[in-house]
């Protein structure tokens, strides 16, 4: 064959092959008839609520016509429908004020996630193996009804438990009502970074057991004790907006922000002054400030009222908290204590806030009460520029902790409502083992995660954009807020709203609920004049406590606790053997790990380290030099409860005797984007709780560290402008490395 013929032959055969392969596959796609009339190319904005944290930010979703891959009648295909394309803050919402955080922006990926569960599933393999088979909704509901009927037949209704997130609002209210009607105990709630210690302290100090709203905008002096209010704590969008206004304060002078912590967080990075302190002594500094203010007669001790009475020695002027004593305990110089106190007293309105690591020590309640007393002393409660409490419209639902679920006789049926305690609990608390004892677990989440992988039945929920949603924000506004919104788009898949499924089940039981609950969540939300939304609801809600809307006018609690005495923090791990404090912190983007499945959030560089798609351990720069550790080195961190390995990030803003790690990575089973990325610092934490609460004391673990390896290609991934950068692992080490 000559060259000419060879070319002709290959060209003809290649073209034929390409023609065969290139057909037009769209003509074979099943396309469903559109269910709505939309003007192509025209966007509408519809309101909804961001579900990714408890702040309850009102959002608006831009909805446009588009083609979507969907499930209809159990069949996959394509449909032309209104699709949410973008989320923004709702300008008319009192909490978000038209703004949205990075997590809120990425919330749209929940709906379109490629690993989102599209239909009900039943377990086929071993528990935790992740082997499921698709089943129909009729079969799934029949199975659940059968399990619940068996409990009723055995008169064992209390063996049903529901595990959910502690989100205040009408959804939780309805869930609690549902359980009560069935005869089960109160819902169990789980949250790693729980603020329950602060709520309890606020109840004691001010009679309002809820999170405070801090009026940054009008404050002239702000002292934050560990509260990362610009990052992850509480209502961070509302707080960031208020902080922005605070920084634009007029000619009266710039408001000063002082941040007290053992680690330079994002909020600390924005502060005018960063006060490094020994972990677990923050409240001592607060009382040190109070001592100086009282001793210098800048404010009378009695001004603190009830909040002051909750502190031992308050009436006597806090003689145990002189600046010299404070310096001994906290490591903050006495002169600085004096100066901060005088500035705080002179800059009315001055406000202090506390959260995060200080409240996650064994003595967390002390710190919260101390800061509350400081606020009360300078008269910064329920005044502009101080802390206040949003009036709550209804009773707070009584809930139980996970310990209550795991202790004693295991329930026989567990309803798992999109919460992941297996990932977000220390390994030694053996949540997974506890759940294994439960014979039947139903998960309602939209994704398989470490906890829902143990489920026997998965009944996937609609995404928030496809559902009726509501929120009763606890903080973030000066006024009471309660919002609800309808779906912004039709469901993509064969999913159902969890609440509607439970209401459906309540009608299908052998002995249906009587009187019946509303048919749907929508009906419940639009219940009109009936405050509980329940036709024929009991006149007196049982097992609930009504919050006092006005904190200062609230009457003292009937059983006032005895004044709190400072006790040194108890750390898990001997300081000789485990010389470093271990400070896990909520990731700016991944939070407690519940948003690690969203690739946008994995891709966003951490604001302080610029790291992405990885775990890292923050070590003091000078300490690292002593230990010949360089950026990116593989470090082994060992606590009394376990070991993990992560790459070093050198940070000048962390105490030399502490190492810190962001929480969120280290999932073993949570979609393609989170599984196998990084390590989980929660796993090696002590299971100890904050005294007088059920809150995990996640700052109370001590660790030892050892350099065990060189930087690796995929170890520490830092953002470097337009590209991902990895550390230069020859830098500073000499040729032998």
């Amino acid at each position: 064959m000559d060259r000419r013929n060879f070319i002709k032959l290959t060209a003809i055969s290649g073209t034929t092959a390409a023609l065969t392969a290139c057909g037009n596959p769209e003509n074979q796609i099943i396309r469903f008839i559109p269910e709505e009339d939309l003007v192509p190319g025209i966007a509408t904005w519809k309101p909804s609520i961001c579900p990714l944290c408890h702040a309850g930010c009102g959002v608006i979703a831009r909805v446009m016509e588009g083609d979507a891959e969907v499930f209809r009648n159990g069949q996959p295909g394509v449909i032309r429908m209104g699709l949410a394309k973008k989320l923004e803050g709702n300008p008319e919402d009192a909490i978000s004020q038209g703004k949205l955080c990075s997590r809120g922006q990425a919330a749209i990926q929940v709906t379109y996630h490629p690993d989102r569960l599209a239909n009900p599933r039943k377990r086929t393999g071993e528990r935790g193996s992740g082997q499921f088979v698709d089943i129909s909704w009729d079969e799934a509901i029949k199975e659940l009804v059968g399990q619940l009927d068996a409990l009723v037949a055995a008169n064992d209704q209390s063996s049903l438990a529901l595990l959910t997130k502690p989100r205040r609002g009408r959804r939780l209210e309805l869930l609690a009502q549902w359980l009560q009607r069935f005869g089960a105990k109160a819902p169990v709630t789980f949250e790693l970074f729980s603020d329950d210690a602060l709520r309890r302290a606020n109840g004691i100090s001010f009679g309002a057991a809820q999170l405070p709203t801090v009026d940054f905008e009008h404050a002239r002096y702000v002292v934050s004790f560990g509260a990362d209010f610009l990052g992850t704590w509480n209502s961070s969008v509302a707080q960031s907006a208020a902080y922005g206004r605070m920084r634009q304060s007029g000619p009266g002078g710039r408001t000063k922000l002082v941040h007290v912590d053992a680690r330079l967080s994002q909020t600390a990075g924005n502060a005018d002054e960063f006060v490094a302190i020994k972990p677990g002594t923050e409240g001592v500094l607060a009382l040190g400030l109070a001592h100086v203010i009282i001793a210098s007669q800048l404010r009378p001790a009695a001004a603190a009222g009830r909040a002051g009475a909750a502190i031992d020695g308050w009436a006597g002027g806090l003689s145990a908290f002189t600046p010299a004593e404070v310096e001994k305990k906290t490591g903050v110089a006495a002169a600085k204590v004096e100066r901060l106190a005088r500035e705080f007293a002179a800059s009315a309105p001055a406000v202090a806030l506390v959260s995060g690591a200080p409240l996650a020590h064994s003595n967390g309640m002390f710190h919260a009460l101390a800061v509350n007393a400081l606020n009360a002393l300078v008269g910064s409660v329920n005044v502009p520029g101080g802390v206040s409490f949003i009036p709550q419209p209804g009773p707070a639902v009584v809930t139980r902790g996970v310990a209550d679920l795991l202790a004693g006789t295991a329930p026989k049926v567990l309803l798992l409502d999109d919460v992941n305690p297996v990932f977000a609990s220390p390994a030694t608390s053996q949540v997974a083992d506890g759940l294994k004892r439960i014979p039947f677990i139903v998960s309602f989440g939209s994704f398989v995660d470490e906890t829902s992988a143990m489920a026997d039945l998965i009944l996937p929920d609609h995404s928030f954009l496809e559902s009726w949603v509501e929120a009763v924000p606890e903080s973030g506004s000066a006024k009471a807020v309660a919002i609800s919104a309808g779906p912004v788009m039709r469901p993509l898949y064969d999913t159902r709203p969890t609440i509607d499924v439970l209401l459906d089940v309540s009608r299908k039981l052998a002995k249906p609920f009587a009187p019946a609950l509303p048919n749907t969540f929508e009906e419940f939300l639009n219940g009109g004049g009936n405050p509980s939304g329940l036709p024929g609801a009991p006149a007196k809600p049982t097992g609930t406590v009504r919050l006092k809307p006005d904190a200062t006018s609230a009457s003292p609690k009937p059983e006032a606790p005895s004044p709190v005495v400072y006790a040194d923090p108890v750390f898990d791990g001997d300081s000789a053997q485990y010389p470093y404090h271990f400070l896990p912190y909520a990731s700016q983007t991944l939070s407690d790990g519940s948003t690690a499945h969203l690739p946008w959030l994995q891709e966003i560089p951490d604001p302080m380290s610029s790291a992405m798609w990885c775990s890292w351990v923050e070590i003091n720069e000078q300490k690292a030099a002593e230990l010949t550790i360089v950026q990116g080195d593989l470090i082994e961190i060992t606590s009394p409860h376990g070991t993990l390995r992560a790459h070093a990030f050198l940070n000048p803003g962390i105490a030399p005797d502490a190492v810190a790690m962001p929480v969120g990575q280290g999932h073993t089973n949570f979609t393609r984007y989170a599984t196998g990325v990084g390590v989980n610092p929660i796993a090696i934490l002590s299971p100890a709780v904050v005294a007088d609460t059920n809150v995990l004391a996640w700052s109370s673990t001590r660790v030892k560290i050892a350099r065990v390896g060189e930087p690796a290609i995929d170890g520490l991934i830092l953002f470097g402008g337009a590209t991902r950068e990895r550390p230069d692992w020859t830098h500073g080490r000499g040729e032998e490395h």
């Binding site: 290959t10 060209a11 290649g14 073209t15 092959a17 449909i79």
Partner: protein, 211 residues
């Protein structure tokens, strides 16, 4: 004087030339096999597609096609719809192509639009029975757009202002009364748009269409 060496050119292995010919022809063929489809759309991953091949053409096939100005007039459709019959019966464009008066794009009718009339009219015709069956199954037709701009063309068109300015549909889409299945009767080049804008004294500012 250093002329390029003939010998050097002649030493290219035959398989390199053959490969280049195959790649060029195959990609071109691939384009002709999917006529009328906008190229480089995110949801379609086609052989030879590359976002960086050229700024203007996503695939080698696109480039070849554009060079020869060979975009076919007809677009494969899932259903032999006759514009001629419908327009002769008094239907108007906006009965089925909704949205042109309000927004940038013309809607493509769903089967339920067809059934507004055809649940009653011409129900004995085989094609209409085919439609009725689809409608009962909840299935829709997969129309392919006849007119569209490629994303690489960096041009935007908005129907609504043109309709408001009383530009007849046929100005850009030809006389549909003469067409059965719609075909590209007008070649919408930039000069076509610019000339009309000049004639109507509409803005010819670059940013009118390229933004």
């Amino acid at each position: 004087m250093a002329f390029p060496s003939r010998k050097a050119a002649g030493t290219w292995p035959n398989w390199v030339l053959a490969f280049l010919v195959v790649v060029t022809m195959a990609t071109a063929a691939c384009e002709f096999a999917s006529p009328g489809q906008p190229s480089g759309m995110a949801e379609r991953s086609r052989w030879g597609t590359s976002a960086v091949l050229t700024p203007a053409h996503a695939t080698a096939g696109d480039a070849v096609k554009a060079f020869f100005d060979s975009r076919p007039d007809t677009v494969a459709q899932p259903f032999d719809f006759s514009h001629q019959i419908h327009l002769s019966k008094g239907a108007v464009c906006t009965d089925c192509h909704t949205g042109v008066e309000q927004g940038p794009r013309a809607g493509l009718p769903s089967v339920s639009t067809c059934m507004i009339c055809h649940s009653q009219i011409a129900t004995d015709r085989p094609l209409i029975q085919q439609l009725t069956k689809l409608s009962e199954q909840g299935l829709d037709l997969n129309w392919n757009r006849v007119y569209d701009y490629q994303p690489q063309a960096h041009v935007r068109f908005n129907h609504a202002p043109h309709i408001a300015a009383k530009v007849a549909c046929s100005t850009c889409h030809g006389n549909q009364q003469e067409q059965t299945v719609a075909r590209r009767a007008v070649n919408m080049t930039m000069s076509f748009c610019v000339n009309c804008h000049k004639e109507k004294q509409a803005s010819n500012d670059c940013l009118t269409c390229h933004y």
